[in-house]
């Protein structure tokens, strides 16, 4: 009953309701941007920017669905070079719709594999023979050796990288995953908005007693220093969970319902061939959403602790801004790059984290940025909760005026 009324207290506040509605509307808007953001060119060369464009594009690209064997890569390279020599940069719209469009994902992947750790060159595909393209995975393995030497600073790190890369299955399995990759940015952006909102709502849970001078009644009640405090903490976590997942389900539900879910199982390496994270595009999306959830829990925990300590919601609501919004800017201005790759804002930056090979080592233990950030901040969010309890449990009433 305690939790029920604690939640009621959060959701009956006028400002909280307004913010909640505003954030849900933002979710709808982002979904609309996502589904209308893409375009599809049909075989007649007509460009479509309707909501079904993403689905039609995926259908078109899925003509290459399946394993990207040496033969397939060779065929695509050959076709691409043929079209390039025929039309140069000015491919007619109809040809684009009939052929080019469907091959683009794979063409990007070939260019990406060829660049190794260097700059992306969109003409790299034109500088190899179709036979060389057939050996693309061997080229990739050669590049991987270079990357291991460059990023592996110790023997343990090099060994670690080697093991990770060995786990990547080749040939890659291709299925158009545009709906998932397009959603990375939207999920990240919406995650930031939800985390800030959750921090705002959580701040009130432990400051309202002081704001409304209801502290004396609360702390003089039987469970005012025990169960009721635990009830507040639980309400904060439930509120964070409910709002975050409701928001994400709204965004994902609308977007994927319209764009389709083609490519959930497409390896992330199609997008970033040298990523040290072996997962699919769908899993990358879920990882981004999970990172946001951990950020939401952390935001709620930190805000509850700050509010319990300072008795002020105004101070507490600043915390998520500093943790998740300001620290990336601070990071850019300071020279402690390694440290700032482990700050809480990285939870909301997983779409970039998975692209780079950030490795850390403690003794002989080598670990990657993403699992460390996820585990560390989950534990941090949990570890703060007993502190919130302890802090509120001990709260005294300020000296009376009279």
């Amino acid at each position: 009953m305690m939790v029920k009324y604690e939640l009621k207290r959060i959701f009956t506040k006028r400002l909280n309701r307004l913010l909640l509605v505003a954030v849900l509307l933002i979710g709808v808007c982002l979904s609309v941007f996502a589904v209308t953001g893409g375009s599809y060119v049909d075989s007649s060369g007509v460009r479509h920017e309707t909501p079904d464009a993403a689905r039609r594009l995926a259908e078109d690209r899925n003509r290459w669905k399946g394993e990207l064997t040496g033969e397939v890569l060779s065929e695509i390279t050959s076709k691409w070079q043929e079209l390039s020599s025929q039309y140069g940069a000015d491919v007619p719209a109809a040809i684009y719709g009939q052929t080019v469009q469907s091959m683009q994902d794979i063409e990007f992947m070939i260019n990406d594999i060829l660049r190794g750790d260097g700059e992306y060159d969109d003409s790299a595909i034109l500088n190899i023979t179709p036979e060389q393209a057939g050996d693309l995975y061997a080229i990739r393995e050669g590049q991987i050796e270079n990357i291991i030497e460059e990023y592996g600073e110790t023997t343990e790190q090099r060994e670690f990288l080697r093991e990770v890369y060995e786990k990547t299955d080749t040939p890659f399995y291709y299925e158009a995953a545009g709906s998932w990759t397009d959603m990375y940015t939207y999920a990240t952006t919406y995650g930031i908005i939800l985390v800030v909102l959750i921090g705002f709502l959580a701040a009130g849970i432990f400051s309202d007693e002081f704001t409304f001078r209801a502290d004396a009644v609360f702390f003089s009640a039987r469970y005012g220093r025990s169960k009721a405090v635990r009830g507040k903490i639980l309400s904060g976590l439930l509120m964070a969970t409910a709002i975050y997942w409701a928001g994400m389900l709204l965004l994902s539900g609308i977007s994927f319902a319209v764009m389709g879910v083609s490519g959930f199982g497409t390896p992330y390496q199609i997008e970033f061939p040298y990523s040290i994270y072996n997962m699919t595009c769908g899993q990358e999306y879920l990882l981004i959403v999970l990172g946001g959830y951990i950020a939401a829990l952390l935001s709620a925990s930190v805000c509850m602790l700050t509010a319990a300590k300072t008795r002020s919601a105004s101070i507490a609501v600043c915390v998520p801004f500093i943790l998740f919004c300001a620290s990336p800017f601070i990071a850019r201005a300071l020279p402690f790059d390694t440290f700032f790759q482990l700050t809480p804002d990285q939870l909301l930056n997983l779409l970039n984290c998975t692209r780079y090979s950030y490795l850390y080592q403690m003794g002989t233990l080598v670990f990657r940025q993403v699992p460390f950030v996820l585990l560390f901040y989950t534990l941090a969010a949990a570890a703060l909760l007993p502190l919130v309890h302890r802090c509120y449990h001990r709260t005294g009433i300020r000296a009376p005026k009279g």
């Binding site: 001078r213 004396a216 039987r222």
Partner: protein, 296 residues
């Protein structure tokens, strides 16, 4: 049923708010009278375990209330002076929320809420948001929440502050009704609040109890008589300067004064029966405040 305070003291930095207060309370209504700043609220907050004493202790049936912790608060009901509430909750939800932190089971909480809202006259307004209640209604909701757990100790800190005379009378009667079979400690600086309902009155000044007893005992202990006399209007200031004047009433041809003095302050002055208000004025002198109704 015994609430005992022994040498209870509370210091705030270099200020002593409560100074070695000792007292034993049992069943009944206790009126804690004192001017603003006398230490009433601090004393009550210690009794409610909201403030830890600097020295001394409070026991309930021989057990230290701070060691009893939740088991003590289980039998406690408290209406603070600054009664805070959650403005966006309805009266019913507010009561249910407080019930939950008082450890009442949902069914019991619902029944108690219904009964108490009926008793304080808020049953029809139970769906109204707390922010939309009048001052008197909020106070009534306040006492209802204090009574939710049917407390053995009911602490009411200035429960009538800010209420209009009608609400104050209504509130007084309500407290009187609720006082059966429990210890009620009621603090106020408005004498009439406790005059009729408190069995024992505790006069508090500068953190100490300096006089305790029934209203009659306190009145009979006065060493000054109460006089009524009519004086010319221009002489009123002179009387106010020389005597303790508990009331000034304009009448045709002058002003009728109620004066505390050991001998007749003017020719024709008639002796009057002393009241607790007179005693309050006598003991607290110039420190006695005047509330918005013009009463001392």
């Amino acid at each position: 049923m015994e609430l005992r305070m022994e040498g209870l003291t509370k210091d705030f930095k270099d200020f002593r708010a409560v100074d070695h207060v000792s007292c034993v309370m049992g069943r009944g209504v206790y009126g804690l009278l004192g001017v603003n700043g006398a230490g009433k609220t601090t004393l009550m907050r210690m009794i409610c375990t909201l403030l830890k004493p600097t020295d001394g202790k409070v026991t309930w049936d021989g057990k230290d209330i701070f060691k009893m912790d939740a088991s003590y608060r289980e039998i406690l009901g408290y209406l603070p002076q600054d009664f805070g509430y959650y403005p966006d909750l309805t009266v019913q939800d507010y009561m249910m929320y407080i019930s939950s932190i008082k450890g009442l089971r949902p069914l019991t909480a619902k029944k108690r809420t219904e009964v108490l809202l009926e008793r304080v006259g808020l049953r029809k307004l139970k769906k109204r948001k707390m922010r939309n209640l009048s001052g008197g209604m909020k106070r009534r909701a306040g006492i209802a929440q204090a009574m939710l757990n049917d407390p053995k100790i009911l602490i009411l800190d200035e429960p009538t502050a800010g209420l209009d005379p009608n609400e104050r009378i209504r509130f007084r009667n309500l407290i009187s009704e609720l006082s059966e079979d429990r210890l009620v400690l009621l603090s106020t600086h408005i004498v009439s609040d406790v005059e009729f309902i408190a069995g024992e009155i505790l006069l508090m000044q500068e953190g100490k109890f300096f006089l305790t007893g029934t209203a009659d005992e306190i009145i009979s202990g006065m060493d000054q008589a109460v006089w009524r006399c009519t004086v010319p209007r221009k002489a009123v200031d002179s009387y106010l300067g020389r005597y303790l004047v508990s009331n000034v009433k304009t009448v045709p041809g002058g002003a009728e004064l109620r004066i505390l003095a050991d001998r007749p302050p003017a020719e024709g002055a008639a002796i009057e029966e002393a009241t607790l208000e007179d005693a309050f004025l006598l003991y607290f002198g110039e420190k006695a405040g005047v509330d918005h109704d013009g009463k001392i």
